[in-house]
Symmetry: C2
Subunit: 192 residues, 2 copies
DNA sequence: TGTAGTCATTGATAAATATCAAGAAATATA
DNA sequence: TATATTTCTTGATATTTATCAATGACTACA
């Protein structure tokens, strides 16, 4: 059950010891959520970081009754409403399940304790934060310097397989346009 | 000279020891850059993280010959083209000086060595990455769910003093509109 | 002090994108 | 399979924002 997540830690911090991995494993819990379910809703404090054993998730804002996607997360990736997790304040983002998910949770208090006790896990925490920073930075860049059409091309190019399972109106909100407009962008891309 | 930066470390990691602070101090170098100068240009690999002892900096993209600001950084803050610093790849962003700056640099190799040797500095590295993540996340949120006018209000509210020294056309690019349009937004805000 | 350059404002027009409404296509479900 | 529901597409129109051009205000500095 914990093979994938342990491999993930090992890949990011090769120096991690079996002892440290065991300490980690003792803190992990497994959860399953079906399509349409939520990991977290805005307003709740996010109490876990979660590793995706299988499934597909969306992380999104709800603004004036409309959803704005900010990411899609598939197998073998970490997910959390990380700002809420770090600050212990209510989440501004939601996470829901697009494809039935099997999740592995690590709670806040356990994580802080592991950080204190095990240097390699502290190092893992640093590297995860750095990775998330890089991802957000790239997302930010694309919002600032690309047109919606370019963002669409780029997104598809990066994640073709993952995104085949995501409805088009969610992709539209991710690139920052209405579903109608994305439909027109696609039409235009066909002809040219 | 190193009072401010040491206080900064101490605030983020209260458990840091004098020994660790001394090890840090031995790696620091001071640099001064006048208005109009650059800390880094896109294409270069960013080799330092930099603490602002005094001055005001802008971090920005250049796209089709136009500048797009992504942030302004004043005294007592950390700044870096952090993605380039972490990945050792060419920077996509520029950093230039708006108000004469006195900077304290910490190089990449020194930093990795400090991480390995001193747990509190590793912890500092994690917390800095987490802070940067949170900042970017908030910036991202504002780009996705606020109108340009709302972004302008929000930006001013957050940073009134700092931004008084920034020309309006740079603020326009930061909130994602043309200088002409920002001028109209301001006009509209006056009357209402 | 004057002059060149930069910056901010304003107006007219064009382009990009949203909204609203309807229908077509795809998907789920009884 | 038939029907209901959701998603995607298309058209007409409205709104937002950019572009281009001109002018006025401010700043630096020779």
């Amino acid at each position: 059950m914990f093979q994938k997540i342990k491999a993930y830690y090992k890949k990011l911090v090769p120096a991690i010891t079996d002892n440290e991995l065991t300490a980690l494993e003792e803190c992990l819990t497994v959860r399953e959520i079906g399509k349409g379910g939520f990991l977290i809703r805005q307003g709740q404090v996010c109490s876990h970081v979660t590793f995706m054993n299988e499934g597909l998730l969306r992380i999104f804002y709800t603004v004036n009754g409309k959803d704005v996607a900010i990411g899609f997360v598939g197998e073998n990736e970490y997910i959390s409403e990380y700002e809420s997790f770090l600050t212990r304040k209510p989440a501004t983002q939601n996470i829901d399940v697009l494809v039935d998910a099997v999740l592995i949770d690590l709670g806040y208090n356990d994580m802080q304790r592991l950080y204190k006790t095990y240097p390699s896990i502290q190092e893992f925490g640093r590297k995860i934060a750095e990775q998330l920073f890089i991802m957000l930075n790239q997302r930010n860049t694309s919002l600032l310097i690309l047109s919606p059409e370019e963002r669409y091309r780029y997104m598809i190019e990066m994640n073709a397989t993952l995104l085949q399972q995501v409805p088009q109106y969610m992709l539209a909100s991710f690139i920052g346009v209405t579903p109608e407009h994305l439909s027109r962008i696609r039409k235009k891309m066909m002809t040219s």
